[in-house]
Symmetry: D2
Subunit: 318 residues, 4 copies
């Protein structure tokens, strides 16, 4: 078969490891493998590269994506999608793997509904994709946040401050929650909940009463701005409050071993599905096992927010 | 209740996070919590400390164990164990959580069989404990190895060498396998299998034939010494082979977010079990969920080796 | 003698290593050493702690300052400084070392001019102190920035973007310049120069012409906001431009070996000066040697901007 | 002019940054720049590559050397060196920069004495080159060691052990000394001194007397083996002693900002010298300034051991 792979939307650490896994596993099975540059846009405006074992050498340990990526809003237009299908036919590609988050998987699903064999690989630092317990990049992003907060703690502790840290997550608080549990944050503010500042204030005051000198509050960007939260908490507690926006450092750097390993397992499963002729699925981690789920269920499914982790984090920070 | 916690055997990253979780969750439930220093030996030769919320401040992000640990071989003697039970009675401790690996959990099981309420928390960088998919410290150790190998790669690549890296794992190859998959190792040599040097040689020669300049072989310490493996491979391939023994850097440093989070979840479950009067269990990660398993099943169970990861690692490195 | 040490102003990595050095060296010479908490404010509102060898155990490798710090604006009032001198007399302290940046050294100089023996140790991540080639914390801060930009590069490269990174430096561009030279930034915008956007635009366009896909511009916070710079460059070049504000992650984390070593050498020299009765000096690194310079020269001196590094950085990024 | 650059001997972090600096600065001045692969051996057995600005893109932040390196013992033969000079003439190369340590600089000097314009750039993680206060790679290597020891400290502290760490340095103790001062090592054993175990024993016992639970001893590989030292100290103190050999992780990984910056400054100076027709020199850092020194003085000079750092390190660890 002629397989192809593309990466779409925001880049996520582990994408390169997945590309390597897909290419090497595909070649080992006797397929020809192509890389399509710059996401869905590349189906219209670019040409596929033939990928060899050497094309993916020394990328396992790098962030970003060697295939480049883009957000291609025009892809929701029927005419554009038809051009994409024409390209795939012209290039004699039999099946495609799409690495990306919710938007990209929706795009993959539409192509799939046109009858073209597509498999999705969940990659999003937000871990906000329905139908899988894990999406590539999340572990690296959480560790990046944790390592930034471990640094900020030195200053917070030296100045006896409240520190409000804004992390990624427009619609999902999972990154904020995991980072908060891993860092011992006193409060975690997420888009899925309205912020209860009175309760946060009370909790912070309790920790000061028992002698704590500094505290961390994590806010997902979809739930507010670090600066505003800091001002609110400074006013309520009478303490100095500083803030930081972690930004793009969250999604870069060498992927963790967890992301590299899952990338290999996901890519391996993706080749399995495409060679078995099972288009229209996303590979998934479910109850600790690598499995697959129809793309249509992903699109219409409901992502799980880790509320019990949030409760535990806030309990343990007292 | 009067709860106590001790750490035993080799230290594992995440132990401190678990101690923090156990103490804070215990206090939140209204229990009194004690820390017993230096493992089972502390039951004989030390005194418990009362733990407050502040006793476990700022330890979440540190490796090692603030309670100190030891390997206490005398604990298999009945008379010593009776002294330990006497201590616990004298200190009016109602239940104990034991953090450690297989040896420590066997010790915990024997105490438990005497009727004392004990709960085990799996902590071992080897991930070689039956009845749980995960033991604390494994993720940090794999990431430590990966980050060391990412460094060695610079030199290996500059000199066009074979590099043999010896990692921990006396009876289990899981650390070697996970690191090998995460680093793109050409071969992984583990205690659970006899080493097939002819096959490794063949694989290395294949990769040179396609232009690869350097290669990595990971060996678990229970399967041989890096130096011997390097000499064997140098002779067989005619290439220069260097070696490194990673040693104790593998088990130190700040725990990854994965280990910090699982530590909190395990500790939370351990307090659940002890307050429900369910002694004789180990907390466990099973099919993605936090659950528990009788200690006796842990002791007599069979740990799973990740053979399919090994096969995938070696396939993808071609 | 009764020596004391305090840390003042913004915390800088290496402060703890310097405290350790000062305390241990002081004790080795037979002095009694006190730590004054929270900077100059502690002279009014706190009490000194007696420092032992154990007080400074395990702090060498930590950021921040165990003595805490503050910005104490009231210290410019004569009446407040007299209260401070009264405290020092009451506590029977013979001489004080002050760790901090320009503001703190100005405070130290005023105390010194009242006749109290004071020695300054330059500590500022900005490396903007006259009379010394180096101030503690700079090397760690530059490495922190470099490591953040190495992460952002993955994303910048995957999306083919301009990336504008805002670093600390209100009046000094040294941090921006060093980070820019170490990261290969295409342009470095600093408060000591007016920004020449036409020249930056031209340079960026040249690099695209030769095939470069992404570019970095570093801006010191005193020279503008990353967001504004990004908008300006996006408009001029027609490329997408993203931005990041690195914030407090720059000044935290374990100090580099360079900062730990210089901290020891500076502290050692500070004890030398105080025991020789040479108050009113700052220890300094000058032409590769540890020496000292009158505090009054520091206050009225002119800090050097590394313009030749900036020119070299911009030349090499073409 | 036709300039060329080669890297020789052990790889050192910062070599790639220096290659980038040399190539880009050379091109900016209108020269043609060639890269010679695999060190002096490449003068006999390889062909030079033309280097463009793009050839050195994205290497600034990587360890190792893109030009590859080798130890080429045959180069001391006159006939081999004549072949090398013939190659340079045939390739129409006017001048060469050699990046490496003492052996490579001796090779460079012999070529230079034949009348060929050569400039040396000191690169050696051992910082053991006469005539310069700094050689590329030292700062990264020290930081790598420090970061490994910071990890081992967790385990050492949890088990209350002596830890003996073997670092690189066959004839020079500078790496051991700098790492020891930066890590708070209780003793530093170097090839330039006979080991005084009685004094080390006494110092360790003193620290235990004041309550210290664990201690670090650093040994440079030229002064003994970690294992032997550990056994000696265990016997003398009656404490458990563990050991680790850090190996090749010391010389890998992304170079620190210090090494990247000095690499740029050294490369810049090297192009200056060659374009001024000043062959037979090594660029050098001397009293804080970039300068140059005749290669012949480097070869016959005496490297400085940082004995005063060693004394200070041992004093501060008490």
């Amino acid at each position: 078969m002629n397989l192809a792979i593309l990466t779409s939307g925001g880049d996520a650490p582990g994408m390169n490891a997945a590309i390597r896994g897909f290419v090497r596993r595909g070649l080992a099975d006797g397929h020809t493998v192509f890389g399509i540059p710059r996401g869905f846009e590349g189906l219209i405006h670019a040409e596929p590269h033939t990928m060899t074992a050497a094309s993916v050498a020394n990328i396992l340990m790098t962030g970003g994506t060697i295939l480049k990526t883009s957000r291609f809003l025009d892809f929701h237009q029927v005419s554009i999608r038809e051009m994409a299908l024409d390209s795939l036919k012209r290039w004699q590609i039999d099946a495609v793997a799409v690495l990306g988050g919710n938007g990209s998987l929706a795009g993959a699903n539409t192509l799939s509904e046109s009858g073209f064999p597509i498999v999705g690989i969940p990659a999003s630092i937000d871990n906000d994709i329905a139908g899988t317990d894990y999406s590539l990049g999340f572990d690296t992003a959480v560790n990046n946040i944790v390592s930034s907060i471990d640094k900020i703690r030195d200053t917070a502790s030296s100045h006896e401050r409240i520190f409000v840290v804004q992390v990624m997550g427009n619609r999902s608080g999972n990154l904020a929650i995991a980072a908060g549990l891993a860092c011992g944050a006193e409060a975690i503010i997420i888009p899925e909940q309205s912020s209860d500042y009175a309760s946060i204030e009370q909790r912070l005051l309790q920790t000061y009463a028992r002698g704590k000198k500094h505290s961390f509050v994590i806010v997902a960007e979809g739930a507010g701005e670090a600066k505003t939260v800091a001002e609110e908490l400074a006013q309520r507690t009478g303490r100095e409050a500083k803030w930081a926006v972690l930004g793009h450092t969250q999604r870069g750097g060498p992927p963790t071993s967890h992301d590299r390993i899952l990338a290999a397992l996901f890519a391996d499963k993706a080749v399995d599905l495409l060679t078995e002729g099972k288009g229209g699925f996303m590979v998934s981690l479910c109850s600790g096992s690598i499995t697959s789920i129809p793309l249509v269920n992903v699109i219409h499914g409901q992502n799980q927010t880790l509320f019990h982790w949030q409760r535990l984090a806030e309990l343990l920070a007292r």
